[in-house]
């Protein structure tokens, strides 16, 4: 009996020891795991490689191809890393100032890189451009300027431009005896005619909020020119309460009150296919949307995209200060360079490929519209030549290409802008309320 008790106690203490040992091992393992995270994947510490970080999606085939081309001749090898999905900006933010940071990264220019410029993380490309002026001259100026901050260039365009266009359903317009509006008054008139026919004149995915913002961007540009927004972005808050701002808001109000968007636009989204369906199924005649509307319709409603999808520039406003050729939207995506890169020469050589013929052809092949000056030579090879030609001419002729407001401001402003545009369209806030919300934005 005595020996039994001893053995039980022994077993208990052995178990206790085992548990302690296991726990210790676990804790050590965890801390080790946390510690070792910094070592592996460290980009710029590796000798002879540059890491290129890109938003992960279908467009990566071209980026992969360009990296392969680069690696054929370069001693320093490029490695393509992708962050899949819509959370690119948040994930980039968490690694940008760590050893895992890439050498070159994808971004939207403007506000998306402004915080990094402020924190002194990015390499100004001015000296690279001085050595090879082609890094600037080969791109359309209105696009290239999006990544110029405080007079220094921080990005080289890659992928394609995405201007916002006024899309229409040709069949609906024809049956109402209308055509695409040339002026604001045409648009108001079209809205009245279409409304009388029981249609929702303009499809709007208000639930996404940014489609609503596009209306503000264009009306402000047509009424006041690009200067008003630039002034506001630079920190002059009086721009929002200027007479032009009030006039633009009044015109938007006029459009909303005319019933242009119907009454349930805040329950409709572009992203789940709600507003494109309104246009394709003939329940609406217009939709103001980025150039990706075309590919959205091509995949969702191929017959409609082929036969009845029309597109035009945003109407002009008589008496407005803005040039009717101005466009707004996403100017392009950009490659920016981190200051701490070990291989600036290799980076410069890599960036040169962004205006190569191979790059332009590959981008056109997957439906993107690059903004290099040599793009015009290859437009006929695009998947939809007429549409590509229209956009390219529009962007090339544009004196100003205003980057979307929510991307021109730093990411911290996005929620406030989106809330303000939505509440103004809802009627929850009036002109003064909108002005106050925009004045609350901080530009840095």
């Amino acid at each position: 009996m005595g020996s039994l008790r001893v053995s039980v106690r022994n077993r208990a203490s052995r178990n206790r020891f085992a548990a302690l040992a296991a726990t210790t091992a676990l804790v050590v393992g965890l801390t080790a795991a946390c510690g070792s995270g910094g070592g592996s994947g460290s980009a710029s510490a590796d000798s002879g490689t540059i890491h290129v970080l890109v938003y992960g999606d279908a467009g990566n085939t071209v980026e992969k191809q360009i990296v392969d081309t680069f690696n054929k001749t370069s001693k320093v090898k490029a490695v393509l890393d992708t962050i899949p999905g819509a959370d690119y900006q948040s994930k980039l933010n968490t690694i940008i100032n760590t050893p895992q940071a890439p050498d070159i990264f994808f971004n939207w220019g403007g506000g998306s890189i402004a915080p990094y410029v402020k924190d002194n993380l990015l390499l100004p490309l001015d000296s690279m451009i001085a050595k090879d002026p082609g890094l600037k001259n080969n791109f359309l100026p209105s696009v290239f300027n999006t990544a110029v901050i405080d007079g220094h260039s921080y990005g080289v365009p890659m992928r394609g431009t995405q201007p916002v266009l006024l899309f229409d359903n040709k069949q609906v317009l024809a049956s109402a005896g209308l055509s695409a509006p040339q002026t604001w008054d045409d648009l108001i008139n079209d809205v009245k005619v279409l409304k009388a026919k029981g249609l929702t004149p303009i499809a709007l995915g208000g639930g996404d909020q940014w489609p609503t913002q596009m209306w503000f961007e264009y009306v402000y540009d047509r009424v006041a020119g690009p200067g008003l927004f630039e002034k506001a972005l630079a920190g002059d808050k009086s721009a929002w309460s200027s007479a032009d701002s009030v006039k633009a808001l009044g015109m938007l109000k006029q459009l909303i009150d005319a019933g242009a968007f119907g009454s349930n636009f805040d329950s409709v989204k572009f992203t789940d296919g709600g507003s494109p369906a309104l246009l394709a199924k003939g329940k609406s005649a217009f939709e103001l949307m980025g150039s990706w509307e075309y590919s959205t319709q091509q995949s969702g409603n191929p017959d409609f995209a082929k036969n009845d999808l029309g597109y035009s520039a945003f109407p002009s406003v008589s008496g407005g200060k803005g040039d009717p050729n101005d466009v707004v939207g996403n100017t392009n995506n950009f490659y920016s360079v981190l200051k701490k890169t070990q291989h600036p020469d290799a980076v410069a050589a890599f960036l040169k490929l962004m205006y190569s013929d191979e790059f332009v052809k590959a981008q056109l092949g997957i439906g993107n519209l690059p903004t290099t000056t040599n793009t015009a030579n290859f437009l006929a090879t695009s998947a939809s030549p007429a549409y590509s030609q229209f956009q390219f001419n529009l962007v090339k002729a544009a004196p100003s290409f205003q980057l979307s407001w929510d991307q021109a401001y730093p990411p911290a402003a996005t929620t406030t802008i989106h809330t303000a545009v939505q509440e103004f369209f809802d009627g929850k806030i009036d002109t003064n309320g909108f002005i106050a919300q925009m004045q609350s934005l901080s530009n840095s």
Partner: protein
């Protein structure tokens, strides 16, 4: 005689051996170490870090620097924050009020032995298998004002602008939450109802009680502890509602459905203001802890009284 005494002796010994904690050493602190370490590492430590962060200004890029009470004073002057706490409470209460009756009825029904019960229960429990994201995307499409249900049933939905008003959005969030979470709670109640001793029903039947009286006088009182468990789960779930808001309303229209958890995400991961986000997170932790404590205290759950009374 001796054989009999031997078997009883054996039985007694076996009985003794089965009783836990007698004869063997009680498990020491070492047994709790793994769980405790995990809890400290993944719950307490982050909580402390969040508390520290709430006194800093941090964009997630450069190192955080202390800014004193700035986040907190801003938070208490922020109408969106005050509103978000109210919205969170409203959604939580609506969740409890709508989900509890349905899950009790469904759970008690599923505990019975009716024909087709197994098949129908399996169908009722399907939403439990779907992720919150899938559920939200599904309802978003079903509630599209032009091509979804509202377009077909204008007499019920009017112009279909469900997500364009605060009341409509709250109704949608409550309804989708109910559709998604009722099966889980019905499952709890099914288990609880199965555990009610049959003798109680037999005795009640002899006394002449019908199904309805049996339900109110036996089933419901016996389900008390299950109910408390279920309500606490609902309250905690309601206070941390996030995924449905993210996909269905994104806190909109405007900020009309910006609940605290979503507001925290917005400040932290959309506006990159981790200090402000941490302050909201801390408020949420405190409010949720207080409410959970209150529920436990009021319900007497802490005393763990048995429901097997009268047997």
């Amino acid at each position: 005689m001796s054989a009999l005494s031997f078997t009883t002796e054996l039985g007694r010994r076996r009985l003794k051996a089965r009783r836990p904690g007698v004869g063997a050493t009680r498990p020491g602190f070492a047994w709790a170490v793994p769980a405790t370490v995990f809890f400290l590492l993944f719950a307490i430590l982050p909580l402390v870090l969040v508390a520290v962060l709430s006194f800093t200004s941090w964009d997630g890029i450069t190192s955080p620097h202390f800014n004193g009470l700035a986040n907190w004073t801003k938070l208490f002057d922020d109408p969106v924050m005050t509103q978000s706490i109210w919205l969170t409470l409203v959604l939580t209460v609506l969740g409890v009020v709508t989900q509890t009756p349905i899950s009790i009825l469904l759970g008690v029904w599923a505990a019975g032995h009716q024909r087709n019960r197994a098949v129908l229960s399996a169908i009722f429990f399907v939403p439990l298998l779907l992720s919150a994201t899938a559920v939200s995307v599904l309802w978003r499409a079903l509630l599209d004002p032009n091509f979804g249900l509202p377009g077909q049933l204008p007499w019920l939905f009017g112009n279909g602008n469900l997500l364009g008003s605060q009341a409509g959005s709250i109704a949608v969030l409550t309804f989708v939450g109910m559709w998604q979470f009722t099966p889980l709670h019905a499952l709890l109640y099914q288990g609880g109802a199965r555990a009610v001793p049959q003798v109680l029903y037999q005795a009640a039947a002899i006394d002449g009680a019908g199904t309805v009286r049996q339900f109110f006088h036996i089933t419901l009182p016996q389900l008390r502890n299950t109910m408390i468990t279920s309500v606490i789960l609902m309250v905690v779930g309601g206070l941390t509602t996030f995924d449905t808001v993210l996909i269905l309303t994104q806190g909109g229209p405007g900020t009309d459905t910006t609940v605290s958890a979503y507001y925290m995400y917005e400040q932290g991961f959309k506006n990159f203001d981790f200090g402000a986000g941490s302050a909201i997170a801390l408020v949420l932790v405190v409010v949720a802890t207080l409410i959970s404590l209150a529920v436990v205290r009021i319900s007497g759950y802490d005393k763990m009284r048995s429901t097997a009374e009268g047997i």
